[in-house]
Amino acid sequence: MNYENEEFFAPGHGMCAGCAAPIIVKWILKWAGPNTIVANATGCLEVATTAYPRTSWRVPWIHVAFENAAAAASGVEAATRAKGEKLNIIAFGGDGGTVDIGFQALSGMVERGHDVLYVLYDNEAYMNTGIQRSGSTPWGAWTTTSKVGSANPIGKLRPKKPISMIIAAHNAPYVATANPAMFQDFKKKVQKALNTPGAKFLHVISSCTTGWRHDPSKTVEIMRLATDTGIFPLYEIENGDIENMRITYKPKKFKPVEEYLKPQGRFRHLLKNPEYVKKLQEDVDAWWAKYGHHYHP
């Protein structure tokens, strides 16, 4: 069944204009259809879509706490098996709820092999509490807890946690990175994940207009730049076979990282020092030098 013309994520929610998370959720639910249950970690998505007595969710939805969406989804899935039913069980978590505080529960869920699709919408900081750095915040980003000043002109001093590689290393049957701005690739991966039994993990980039400090009208453009500069590569890994990962999209000509940094206030300070931009460009080049041969369209 094709449910692309149906809405399972109702409008009228309180997510910011320009936030990518509702785009991600809305389309994943269309591809999953009504035979779906959602478990949601605490975060913007949960807070802004379920202000009692209203809800944006037209599929069954549960929120338990911040760090346990994967565990709650495990329970939903176990009960579904006990009932002898077959459903799409999808967990949504932001980067804080996934790569940091929810990391253990996610690792457990994947190791146990629950038939759940876990979707990380990665806006690269704790946005719900006001832009604090997370394990998924990239090197050089300003946040309210990786501030930029005379003693620290860089911002966050550590690189982003490679969560997709880490989850793939659990021998998860399907792990992919995706970008809603690269729509067909995103759709293919969601559908593939939904059709794969076991614990699937989708790492979806999700721009945050307030935290990344960009014009709300530039959301899709900036997310596209993340991939076209090579900063957020799109790949998939099956059954933990990282050596045979498949890069699903490679720009014909990479754009310089500067183009991605420029429209975002969180990186503005980096542009003052060409060394910082150079470092980021070298990081990206190094990634592609190491993994670029895995591009198999």
């Binding site: 249950i37 949960e46 202000a51 706490a65 329970g75 529960a105 457990g108």
Partner: protein, 398 residues
């Protein structure tokens, strides 16, 4: 049918007989045998359930919520640090009104790390919105385990329940129990039909939504009302159980209290020791009795007033301490009587922490202070069987 089982098995058998469908659990001393036994039941084909071997107690209770929200019967078990790790999620389980049943191997909390019995773990969760039952022996663990489902799932209640069994003293001790037949338990519990909103694609609902100040208090008050309702439902279920299985349960069990000047209040396995000690004192002509608290949440105020109001001294003997105040049971009992014109004198005794044995000598020390309290003032809070001199010295007070 008689069976020889350990206390942990009484919980596992209660789950099996209740036809629990999902058991998410994490091992922890002393309750580990519960998930082991469930795993064994499933492996042998004796029990049809999904066992979820989670990676922490936090995930155990989170998965229990997810499963219960799907409308299946859910049980789990933990103790001590495991229960403490569940802390935030316990409030969510009760706030979401999910009738999960959890066995507790009542064990001390760290530090220092200690695996033996006291009631600090579940006492620390007394505000979590869960009903709390405490077993004196393995038969009670089994019976309360079964009854907990019927009480928790009652439409008037819909609250989760803990069933406590004292670490090692019960969890690891083999005792003979009357094991009910499956058909009897089926008949007693009835087929499980969730009478609450579940996660059902045919009827989508949002569970665990965001409550603003204009609604939050009503959600909390609804839990309060449910706890109040539970008092009545517990009585009904206890009576029905007694008719069917012949074993009598009450929220509080008074013994030798009619003419007693001193009444000891107990919980859990120490009640057996206390009963024997009272028989000894009675033989000496002492007017003493005891009241065993089986249900701590909801707190059985009315029954406790009834049972204790004619005593001169109530000696609360408890295995927990709220630092800077007193034991939890003492505080709640004293508050229960606060507005009564006729009230006994309450004296608190902290005993048996971290598995320190509660012997006749312990109770003798308690009795001496309680007897003194008949005629003169004594300390509110009395630590028994403790080397005070060593502590004072190490704290630089001598």
């Amino acid at each position: 049918m008689k069976a020889m089982i350990r206390g942990n098995e009484s919980i596992a058998y209660a789950f099996k007989l209740a036809r629990v469908q999902v058991v998410p659990a994490y091992p922890i001393t002393p309750s580990t045998l519960v998930p082991e036994k469930i795993s064994e039941f499933i492996a042998n084909g004796e029990m049809k359930a999904e066992f979820v071997p989670v990676e922490s107690e936090h995930s155990a209770i989170s998965a229990a919520i997810g499963a219960s929200a799907r409308g299946v019967r859910v049980g789990t078990a933990t103790a001590s640090q495991g229960l403490a790790l569940m802390h935030e999620v316990l409030f969510i389980a009760s706030g979401m009104r999910l009738p999960i049943v959890m066995g507790i191997g009542n064990r001390a909390l760290s530090a220092p790390i200690n695996i033996w019995c006291d009631h600090q773990d579940s006492m620390a969760e007394r505000d979590s919105g869960w009903m709390q039952f405490y077993s004196e022996n393995n038969q009670e663990g089994l019976d309360l385990g079964i009854m907990a489902f019927k009480i928790a799932e009652d439409k008037r209640v819909l609250l989760p329940a803990m069933v406590g069994l004292d670490a090692f003293v019960l969890t690891h001790t083999v005792e003979p129990v009357d094991m009910p037949e499956q058909s009897e338990v089926d008949d007693f519990l009835g087929e499980f039909k969730p009478n609450y909103v579940t996660l059902d694609p045919n009827k989508p609902a949002t569970l665990g939504s965001f409550g603003f100040p204009e609604h939050y208090t009503e959600f909390r008050f609804a839990q309060w009302v449910a706890m109040e309702q539970a008092k009545k439902v517990i009585d009904e279920v206890f009576e029905e159980f007694e008719k069917k299985f012949g074993r009598k349960y009450r929220k509080v069990m008074p013994e030798y209290t009619e003419d007693a000047d001193i009444i000891f209040v107990t919980m859990g396995s120490m009640s057996g020791t206390m009963r024997e000690y009272i028989k000894k004192l009675r033989a000496q002509g002492k007017k003493v009795g005891m009241v065993k608290i089986t249900v701590f949440r909801p707190f059985p105020k009315e029954e406790l007033i009834e049972a204790l109001q004619n005593a001169k001294v109530v000696a609360v003997v408890e295995r927990n301490i709220s630092m800077g105040f007193a034991g939890a049971v003492y505080g709640e009992l004293a508050a229960t009587f606060a507005n009564k014109s006729k009230k006994p004198k309450f004296v608190d005794f902290i005993v048996g922490l971290g598995g320190r044995d509660i012997t006749f000598n312990t109770l003798e020390s308690v009795y001496k202070v309680a007897e003194k309290a008949l005629t003169q003032d004594v300390d509110d809070v009395n630590w028994i069987d403790v080397n005070k001199e060593a502590v004072y010295k190490s704290e630089g007070l001598q």
